[in-house]
Symmetry: C2
Subunit: 165 residues, 2 copies
Amino acid sequence: MTPDAYRVIISKRDTRHYLDKPIPDETVQRILQAGRMAGSSKNSQPVRYIVVRGAQGKAELAGCGQYAHHLPSAPLVVALVLVPGGGAFDAGRAAQNMMLAAWAEGVTSCPVAMHDQDRARAVLGIPPDHSVAMVLAFGYPDRRYPLHGGRQRLPLHELVHWERW
Amino acid sequence: MTPDAYRVIISKRDTRHYLDKPIPDETVQRILQAGRMAGSSKNSQPVRYIVVRGAQGKAELAGCGQYAHHLPSAPLVVALVLVPGGGAFDAGRAAQNMMLAAWAEGVTSCPVAMHDQDRARAVLGIPPDHSVAMVLAFGYPDRRYPLHGGRQRLPLHELVHWERW
């Protein structure tokens, strides 16, 4: 294993502008596989995946979140569904695995919250005791928009404490 | 960027048996940097990091979780603290980044929940309106214990739905 993984990890940015270019099925498979292999609390594997590529499904999901307008322009959308008892921390782990696997192949992404859970449940047809932890939009980056624009990070010394707060 | 990142992602397992071997400072820095660079909701950057390597701090943290007995044997422990309003999904993203950056250098890890939040807050000295999203244990794997033992995953076709549930 090489430091390439580290470069993928630290260069990944959440972006919302995608080319109108489909993502190959093999890449989709690797993205899903990356989610599947994410660790979870007591190996409970609480995350399920709904792949949405149809225009109608994407448009309907765009109506379920306050910042979901860009979903229809993403060639690949994957909803992360939590089974009862599943936690958002594990969904975050799976999502990061998927977004890094995508970025390793040049596919950028952005998580999108579904503020209207009831509507999202209806759109996706999921059971009432399940929840939509997040929806991920994937696509090749539209380079007319900066990948790193406005995505500044606080310096490490402001984020890290040693031994105690 | 190469497929190496994908191999790191899908081979990572959460394991709790570590060698008594320190982790180099440069590796610690990359692990923290990986956390720092994780995306977050509206770039809110809600995660703070407390690096714990002292024996006393690790022993005290081990008393704050139901499955935290192995913390003292980990050469590196990092507590992920959420500022007010921060969400577990973002903590999961940061944690996965850190654990993958570590694994890319051969360092395994395991997230540990702090069930007694009040006690963990006191041990770490964090403000009362902050929470400990998770504690991560890091170490070189003790190969006397299997890396993949019991960490089976459900098959992909049971986890994935297409267009709708």
